[in-house]
């Protein structure tokens, strides 16, 4: 019995090394089966707790009508635009604050003050200023992404050993080249951590913003479904959120981490 389990486990490990996608699907199987079992037991009315099959049908239906692809595209675009600006502003600011004592003194208190005003807390005034549009959404996402990116970049810049700077200087690097050759790669593992946190918060902020001010998007779809009393669409929205984040993590963030910090031995696997 034990050896059989052992052999099965060995086979599974070999399978997942050939097909890594299997490893990301298998853990969900017991979860979906349990969900199915609860629905099949008939403890709750179908409209209250739909089955996995209902959700799949709803998925196919919304894809067929073109609503889901459109909403998905809207949400992902908003996140991409917000993330782009959050990264484009956050990394240079983080490097500046990390390298310059003056910039640190001038900006750090402001940073902590504004970090405390959560993204959602900005929505009332943003709606008055910019209305229910892309500007408001982008502002909220940039705002959410930028703080973890800045704070982690500062940490990364400051944790570069002083001898790295010294070595570069004695090899003839100018202060400007040091930013590109030493500071940026040295801080990269922390920057990626900042991105991971920032994008995670940004994704949540986006859904919240869509629920409150949206006219499209996954968050809007879920809230709209609540008004219509469609639990199946709410569940579908939740599943999409999880799947999308999984894709962002395993297709974008994890490969960057493997190619940088882990490859260089700065981060242990």
């Amino acid at each position: 019995m034990i050896t059989a389990l052992h052999r099965a486990w060995g086979r599974y490990v070999r399978l997942t090394t050939h097909w890594p996608a299997v490893a990301s699907i298998v853990p969900f199987i017991p979860f979906v089966l349990m969900w199915w079992a609860v629905v099949a037991a008939g403890l709750f009315p179908r409209a209250f707790l739909p089955s996995p099959v209902d959700v799949v049908h709803s998925f196919a239906d919304l894809v067929y009508k073109g609503i889901l692809p459109e909403y998905l595209q809207d949400s992902v675009m908003r996140l991409a635009v917000g993330a782009f600006w959050g990264i484009a502003l956050g990394i240079p600011l983080g490097i500046l604050i990390g390298m310059s004592q003056l910039a640190h003194r001038a900006l750090w208190p402001l940073l902590l003050f504004f970090q405390a005003i959560g993204d959602i807390a900005w929505l009332p005034i943003l709606v008055i200023w910019f209305g229910y549009g892309l500007v408001t959404m982008t502002f909220v996402i940039v705002y959410t992404v930028i703080f973890p990116v800045i704070l982690n970049t500062v940490l990364g810049v400051r944790s570069i050993p002083i001898n790295m700077h010294r070595a570069a200087l004695t090899l003839g690097a100018s202060r400007l080249r040091i930013v590109w050759e030493i500071v940026l790669p040295g801080a990269l593992p922390n920057i990626v951590t900042g991105l991971r946190n920032g994008l995670g918060y940004g994704w949540r902020a986006l859904i919240a913003a869509e629920i409150i001010v949206g006219t499209s998007g996954i968050g809007f779809m879920m809230f709209d479904a609540r008004r219509a009393g469609s639990v199946v669409e709410i569940l579908l929205g939740m599943i999409i959120l999880g799947v999308l984040w999984y894709i962002v993590d395993s297709w974008i963030l994890a490969p960057i981490e493997r190619a940088t910090g882990q490859r260089w031995g700065l981060v242990t696997r």
């Binding site: 010294r166 070595a167 004695t170």
Partner: protein, 252 residues
């Protein structure tokens, strides 16, 4: 290669905890000729690393002067290469790119700087490691890279700060032998900081003994080259010199 002149060098700094001024280096003078290998030896806290950091331009001097090729030192620069105890290799660059870094900063084009890097890697028997990252190498190999990275930039003076202190004893002996061999080929001007008396004598033309921030004595080492541990271990002149330096260091 250029000569190095140190005149009445001093370093005092304010110790915030003790609340008073502390003298780390006091009135040290030293002339190092072009292509000479000088070891500075002394116990921990004798000021030897402080002197090296001032020559490198990492910390400001508070008295006297340091001249490289007759010109005063102003901050770090590529005329003074440094080999660090902690190696200080760039983890995000391959071994080849680490060694090519200095030429790259000089504006040498890619093909030429990689040719230079490969030449120096061959000198330290590192040809096979060119494409690897520093974290994939042993400590001994990492420091070989550290040495040739500094040499490949062709500095006027090579400063070595206890470079072999963090590798195992057998590897250290090999590295010392390789360093004397490379020094004979390239003849850089070298300042070598160490607390290991045997190492200081083995490598150098001259050993400077330092204690409590002051220069105690200088001892010329006229041992034949090439030097190897197999020969010098039983060499009476080497033993006598080592004993003399050791007594100076211990009495300090």
């Amino acid at each position: 290669m250029k000569s190095l002149t140190i005149r009445n060098l001093s370093k005092t700094y304010f110790d915030a905890y003790a609340g008073k001024h502390v003298t780390a280096v006091h009135d040290v003078s030293l002339d190092v000729a072009e292509g000479e290998f000088v070891s500075i030896v002394g116990p921990s806290g004798c000021g030897k690393t402080t002197i090296l950091n001032m020559i490198a331009g990492f910390i400001p001097i508070t008295g006297g002067e340091i001249l490289v090729g007759g010109l005063p030192v102003k901050g770090p620069g590529p005329d003074r290469g440094v080999v660090f105890q902690s190696f200080a290799l760039f983890p995000w660059r391959t071994v080849l790119d680490n060694v090519a870094f200095g030429p790259k900063m000089r504006g040498t084009r890619k093909a030429e700087r990689e040719r230079i890097a490969r030449e120096y890697l061959a000198l330290a028997k590192l040809t096979e490691a060119a494409g690897r990252y520093p974290n994939e190498l042993s400590g001994g190999m990492q420091q070989r890279v550290g040495v040739v990275r500094a040499l490949a930039n062709e500095p006027d003076v090579l400063l070595m700060d206890e470079p072999f202190a963090s590798v195992d004893a057998q590897t250290r002996m090999t590295l010392q032998e390789e360093l004397t061999r490379i020094w004979q080929q390239k003849r850089p001007t070298v300042i070598f900081i160490t607390h290991d008396v045997g190492e200081a004598v083995f490598l150098a033309n001259r050993v400077v003994v330092l204690s409590k921030g002051r220069k105690l004595d200088e001892i010329d080492v006229n041992l034949p080259r090439p030097r190897s541990w197999d020969e010098l271990n039983d060499n009476d002149a080497f033993k006598a010199l080592s004993n003399r330096v050791l007594q100076l260091v211990r009495a300090a």
